[in-house]
Structure formats: structure tokens, C-alpha cells
Amino acid sequence: MKPLITLEGVNKYYGDYHALRDIDLTIGEGEFFSLLGPSGCGKTTLLRTIAGFETVSDGLVAIGGKDMAGVPANLRPTNMVFQSYAIFPHLSVAENVAFGLRKRPDIDKRTAVTEALSMVGLAGYEKRAAHALSGGQRQRVALARALILKPKVLLLDEPLSALDKKMREQMQVELIKLQRHVGITFILVTHDQEEALVMSDRIAVMFEGRIGQLADAETLYRRPRNRQVAEFIGKMNFLEADVQPAAEGYDLRVAGLGAVSVAAAQAPEPVHGSAGVVGLRPETLNLLFDGETTKQMLVDGQVDEVVYYGDMTYYDVRIQGVEKPLNIAMKNVIGRPVLDVGAPTRVVWDPRALVLFDRNG
């Protein structure tokens, strides 16, 4: 991966408020990169810093090897799709898309606009008035308008948050295809962990102006570095555990589950001391139904809550020695009943699915 954007020791203050804290980041050429985090974590500020709408208080922002200090937004090789799309309502679709070409007489306007519009699936919309477009169409116009300049980087600020669920899922797929088609770097800001997991090559999870973890989707989901990341990405059950270092990992005594050994790799960060927490994703746990057998570990429980989703059923199951019921996701297959609240059951669990955290980390 050839690096395109480099951020070194970037800090941003608004008065006393520390919006970005020591951000070090390298984003590659042609990468689909996401900045993920809860609102107020600094992800949009970071994006606007790359775009040139915010200046850094401290640190280096470089694009394509060039220091961007003092380079205003209009001279940077980046283009942005705004959260509100910022379609110019007094111009037609074609005039919106061609807006960036005002400073580029070398490019033939008509061909470029036609090309850009057909790329986003809006061929033939040239003459439409911008204010008469639907949300999804506005977004496509915003994409075409940004991509017509062939930037090195396309910045997307929560581009899907204004769309309904179905449209959002469709646009996720289209954006992935579009990114592969144009082959440039996309940087996406989102608070939706599913969106980030689905679309990105790599994801930076941000909390309070810091990058909590930077990894690909699978690592982030299966080996979150700490409880904060684990809680933000998907669902996870947490159980307290006593930790003893062993030859090739850790020996644990997990509340409610008992003694078990895990590999060193199952602790994304080394655990010091004996206070640990283990995490288990709901889909790594199973219920053992009548007539089924398993060679894996079992623990007795009682159904506390049932939520039926059609393809899945989500159970809350109480086990002895743990205050909070375990969240378990079961695929609904033929022959498996949906259990009632209060029914006794047995929980199947796999030690290999455990993730171990330091309780104080």
C-alpha cells in the first residue's frame, strides 16, 4: 500500500476543548478508509482537517507527500460529499456537477458532466432543477460533483445518514462499487458501525479525539483492543475473570463459566495482574435444544427474555454467578422451537471465541 495521506501528531483545540489528540495516521492510495465513532469523538473534525476547512493547532497533515499547512481547501487535491449534500439549489443538476470545472478550462464540460452523471446512475438528469431531487438523487449529484475533478481523495461526511434504511443499504453497495471503479482513496466518516464494517478496508475507531483502534473490519470485530471498542462495534457479553499467566497464554477462572485456558493471541493487549474481563459475541454462544448433543462446553441457564426477528431469535439467558443475563443470537432453523421466557436451557460456548481484556485497561 502506497501511502497517500500522512497525519503526524495532529492536535486541534477549540479554546480549552481538545478536539483531536495526537492523531498519527497513514491512509493508502486507493484505500476505502473509515473514521468511526460516537458523535463528538472528533471524526468530522479530522475529516475537515484533511479537507482544509479546519487548521491543525499542532502537527503535520500531508497529502501525496506535500505538507498541507497553509493550503486552503480550494487548492487541496481533495473533494468532499457533505452531510447535507450542499447541492446548490439555484442551479440545475448539470450546473451543479460542472461547478468545479469553472477553474478547469482544459476539461470539456459536456462530456465530463455526462460521464460523471452516468457513473452515479443519473444519466439524463442534466436539466433537472436541483431542488426537485429526492434525497438519494441529491447524494448522487454530490458524488458526481466531487468526482468530476478526479481528486486524489474523496471525503464523505456521514453521506448515508439522511437516507432511509433500504436506500442506505443500496448506497453502501454502490459506494463500494464506485470506489473500486474510480480507484481513488475514499475517507468515510460515520457513526454507524455496520456501515463502516461493510464498506471499509480499514477503520479507525475514535473516542474523545483519540484513535481507539485502527484495523480492518474482521480484526476490529473479533479482536477489539479494549472494552470501549468492543462495546461500540456490535454487541458483546462481558464476564469478569481471574487471570493467571500460563506458558502459552492465560489460565482463566471466568464468572459463571468456570476454569478455561486461552491462547495469548486471544488477549489483543497483554493482561497484567489477575483482574480480567472476557468478552463473548452473542453469535458465538448457542443454546442446546432437546435431542442435540455437543462436545463443547455447556452451562445451565434460564431464559430471561426472547426477541424474535424472523431469521434470528435473540435470547437473554441467566446463568448462575453472573448478574447480567447473557445475550445469545440464534439462527432460526427448521426443527428448532422458540423457547418461552422462564424455560430452562443449556448454553453452549467455545473457549476459542473468548476475547480477554485487562479489567483496568
Binding site: F53, N74, H131
Partner: protein
């Protein structure tokens, strides 16, 4: 039922005196009284040949045009800052800017007279009236332009800059066309307010009066009252036309920006 009666009485109270203007402007008698004694256009003709009136109208037009330009320019700056930036004491500052809207004009007039003549030691001229009219018109301009700027997505200018334009040309190419109806509406309203403003003009005009002050002077001569009626007729018609244009433009601007109407004067 009683509400309907009340509404009708209210409307008569409001508009009957104005309706009298054109009636007596076309009435062929020097005395303003019923019964009417036949139609004429001679009062309009007389108006046409009165040199002093022409000077007064010229003064008023010059003052009104300058006032509308200056107060709108100040209004644009204030409304843009108010809509797009956060700064300390913003609410307080905006409140103080809007205050002349409710200050009694006579107070403004007297204090300005003292400032101009006693403290600054300047002579009275059209420019002193312009300064005072800008003071009272700017709040109106801000009120109108606030609506236009607050309906504007702040990302618009950034989007234009992102697409290669400088800050100024982003403003010129994107913000200005979108707030243009508000700007025109503001200029028309400031123009109308300035054109028929009396108290301040009365205190601050120099040797050459504005039109309202000139009309007031005519009232001492009963035989010239019909001419005042004729002039008044023209002024009322002009005011209604200008304010209607202002409102139509404001609404069109709202529709063009694709937003729901909130605010405005009419």
C-alpha cells in the same frame, strides 16, 4: 358574527383615511369637504410645475436610495455573521443592533441633532439624514436578511470552496444568488421607510427639506391642501407597489432555496 363586525370596523378605521386621499386628489375644489364637486387632474398638474416640490422629491429620492444601499450592506454583514459564525456575546450584540427598531424616533432625532451640531460641529445636509435613516433602517434590513441567511446551509459556501473557488467567489457564486431576493426586499423596504420618514428628517434637514417635511410646510396654506392630497396619492401607490414587490421577491427566494416560510413582514 361579532368578530366579523369587529374586523370590518377595524379595516374601515385603518383604510378609510387613506382611501380619502385619491378621492380628494381628483376633487375639483380647494376645500377638503363633502359633497364632491366634480373630477379634475389639475392638482397633479400643479404639482408638476412646483419647483420647490421637485427639489424636495429629489432630496428624498437621493436619501432613500443611499439609505437603502447602506443599510442593506450593513444588514448583509450582520446577518451573515449572525447566521454563520459563533462569537461571544452574540445574542447581546444582535439585540443592541435591533434596538433602534423600538426606540422612539423623536429621541433618536433629538440626540442625533445634538451629536451632529453640538459635538461633531457639522452642518446639516442630506448626509446627516442619510446617517440617521441608516440607523433606523438597518434593523429592518437585518430582520429580512436574517431570514435569508439562516435558511442557508452553511455547507454551501464550503462546498463551493471545496470545488476550487476562493472564499469571496464562493460567496459571490453561491451565497449571493441565494440571498438576492432578501437583498432586494431589504433595499425596497429601507427605501420606503426612508422616503416617507418625517421626524428625523424634520430635525436633521438643512436648508433644503425632504418631501415629507415639505408637505408638512404646505399644510399652513389651505389652498395647497389638494396638491398634498395628489402627492399623497402617488406616494401611497408607490409604497404599496414597492412593498408588494419586496414580499413577492422574498417568497420567491424562499421557494427557490426550497425552504418553508418563516418570518418576513407581510
Amino acid at each position: 358574527m361579532s368578530l366579523r363586525v369587529y374586523t370590518i370596523i377595524y379595516l374601515i378605521f385603518l383604510y378609510a383615511p387613506i382611501a380619502l386621499l385619491p378621492i380628494f386628489a381628483f376633487n375639483d375644489a380647494t376645500i377638503i369637504a363633502f359633497p364632491l364637486s366634480g373630477g379634475t387632474t389639475k392638482w397633479f398638474a400643479e404639482m408638476w410645475t412646483t419647483k420647490a416640490l421637485h427639489t424636495a422629491v429629489q432630496n428624498s429620492l437621493f436619501i432613500a436610495v443611499m439609505t437603502s444601499l447602506l443599510s442593506t450592506l450593513l444588514g448583509i454583514c450582520a446577518a451573515r455573521a449572525g447566521a454563520m459564525y459563533r462569537f461571544p456575546m452574540k445574542a447581546g450584540i444582535m439585540g443592541f443592533i435591533m434596538l433602534p427598531l423600538v426606540l422612539p424616533e423623536i429621541i433618536v432625532a433629538v440626540s442625533l441633532l445634538i451629536v451632529v451640531v453640538q459635538i461633531l460641529d457639522l452642518g446639516l445636509s442630506n448626509w446627516t439624514i442619510i446617517a440617521a435613516h441608516v440607523l433606523i433602517c438597518t434593523p429592518f434590513s437585518i430582520a429580512i436578511l436574517n431570514g435569508a441567511f439562516q435558511n442557508l446551509d452553511p455547507s454551501m459556501e464550503e462546498a463551493a470552496m471545496d470545488l476550487g473557488e476562493s472564499r469571496f467567489s464562493a460567496f459571490r457564486l453561491v451565497t449571493l444568488p441565494l440571498v438576492m431576493p432578501g437583498i432586494i426586499a431589504s433595499m425596497l423596504i429601507a427605501f420606503t421607510i426612508s422616503l416617507d420618514e418625517f421626524i428625523i428628517a424634520f430635525f436633521l434637514s438643512g436648508s433644503s427639506p425632504t418631501m415629507p417635511v415639505y408637505i408638512w410646510g404646505l399644510l399652513r396654506f389651505p389652498q395647497s391642501l389638494p396638491v398634498v392630497m395628489a402627492l399623497g396619492t402617488i406616494l401611497v401607490a408607490l409604497s404599496i407597489i414597492l412593498l408588494s414587490i419586496a414580499e413577492i421577491l422574498r417568497r420567491r427566494g424562499m421557494a427557490r432555496a426550497g425552504v418553508t416560510d418563516k418570518g418576513g413582514f407581510l
